[in-house]
């Protein structure tokens, strides 16, 4: 399995697509963090809770890109027909899918770390100018861990979504529209109908709760629901691919 995982990482590293996404991630995260810091009051910026929330808000881009790259890691193989060679090397298909799930998970962690570094690089000089500092304590560390886990689950979820949908444009556009539009509208509708409990367990709501910028579920519950989504999509993807004809 480590060989397959290393192969997945190599696949990712050896195309230019990844680097484009990394640039987008750095730029968007930097702009987002700068926006939040500049619109906050001086006393807010020194507040530990503000600092943690600012990190949560700034890493939404890392989470979204983890989802997209997770999807792409699978759909690109169907799009270019390389899934044929992949399954020739590893005919036990579940092993390929498992490697892609783990790859998506690790990818999420890596992207979130990059997002956190950029966000901290933006806020640190401002705090220093304020003669304040970043409150690195237990709560801070816990929040960082939650942010990393949330992005990791987004990446793994992407691998499952890509395996299930396979059509690259359909999967990518569908995922973006769901996350940015459909889920928001659906949640508003559910809340209006008095079913906020259901809105809270929608995927973005649950994972945002885990990452600390959505009020609905507790962190632990958000994480549990997020894991459930990853497992369900991975299982559906496996069922789709298990006996699929690769032609």
């Amino acid at each position: 399995m480590t060989a397959l995982l290393r192969a997945e990482v190599l696949k990712l590293r050896t195309t230019r697509g990844l680097y484009g996404y990394l640039i987008v991630l750095v730029v968007l995260t930097g702009l987002g963090a700068a926006g939040q810091v500049s619109t906050a009051h001086l006393f807010e910026r020194g507040d530990p809770a503000f600092q943690r929330d600012m990190l949560s808000q700034s890493t939404v881009f890392a989470a979204l890109i983890a989802l997209l790259l997770g999807i792409l890691s699978v759909t690109v193989e169907w799009r270019h027909g390389t899934i044929t060679r992949t399954f020739l090397v590893t005919p036990r298909r579940w092993r390929v899918l498992a490697a892609k799930e783990i790859n998506g998970f690790l990818l999420g962690v890596g992207l979130a770390i990059l997002g956190l570094v950029v966000a901290i690089a933006v806020i640190a000089p401002v705090l220093s100018h304020d003669s304040a500092s970043l409150h690195v304590d237990g709560a801070f560390a816990a929040r960082v861990a939650e942010i990393l886990l949330a992005a990791a689950l987004w990446g793994a979820l992407g691998a499952g979504v890509g395996t299930l949908i396979q059509h690259q444009t359909g999967a990518i556009v569908g995922a973006i529209i769901w996350v940015l539009v459909v889920e928001t509208l659906l949640a508003a509708l559910l809340e209006w109908a008095g079913w906020k409990g259901i809105a809270d367990v929608l995927p973005r709501h649950a994972l945002d709760a885990l990452a600390g910028h959505e009020a609905g579920l507790s962190t632990a519950a958000g994480g549990a629901v997020g894991v459930a989504y990853v497992v369900v999509f991975a299982a559906l993807g496996f069922l789709r691919v298990r006996r699929q004809d690769i032609t």
């Binding site: 060989a3 290393r6 230019r16 270019h80 044929t84 399954f87 090397v89 005919p91 004809d245 032609t247």
Partner: protein
Amino acid sequence: MIEVESLTKRFGATLAVDDLSFSVSPGTVTGFLGPNGAGKSTTLRAILGLVIPDAGRTRVLGKSYAELGHPFQQVGAILETAEAHPGRSGRNHLRVLATAAGVSRARVDDVLELVGMTEAAGRRVKSYSLGMRQRLALAGALLGDPETLVLDEPANGLDPQGIRWLRDFLRMLAGEGRTVLVSSHVLAEVAQTVDHVVIIHKGRLVRQAAMREMEAMAAGAAVVRSPDAARFASLLNEAGIDAQSMGDGELSVAAPTARVGELAAANGVVLHELTAARATLEDVFLELTGDEAQ
């Protein structure tokens, strides 16, 4: 060793492979022939575990493909799909495969050298010509140094130079004692390389034969012109040889020229012409695969 047993595969309403059975002996090069759409690719993909049969089964080296311990080191394959991500370099593509299959990186450079792609290996695959892509695919198939090779239309899209290179290459592989199953819709492409042929049409087996038999089928016919054509035709018929009048004293005879000449001399028949009407292998192939291929 490749075995196909009662393989049947349907895609929607289309019966792609229909109760097909044949086997490929170790150390032989077998041509897998049939017109386009005969079910060749589906059969090869079933052998490689990519297509799930509706009925029957396929085995490689005595096992189903998925049960092979190290499939990449046991069976190499070229299929009619893109080999690599267009944005990846040829070398990196092979490195990905080597990493996943547990093959050493040094072997990547070896196979690049073997197929003559060392210089182009650093370029992205999208810049490759069709011939280079086929070479890269062959490099991918040989990366694990497998004993058995399954090649689906490897000559497709190659220029004459590329086809010649491929032919020499296949002969080299055969010379090393590898088992090769190579598909084609053009018999001439593989005729000089293969020992056996498996011919299918509309998903069914038409014939499995040694190449020698195919050549014998192509060899035995003669054209005769004689002022005494009618009498000679009946003499030939008496000898159990089929002879048909083509008009104007010309006969088409289903026997080698030597035999026809001997009969003419023995019976004192004057011949104005005796030529071998050598049906090409292609003619035999077309005859066997019937209407659709013509």
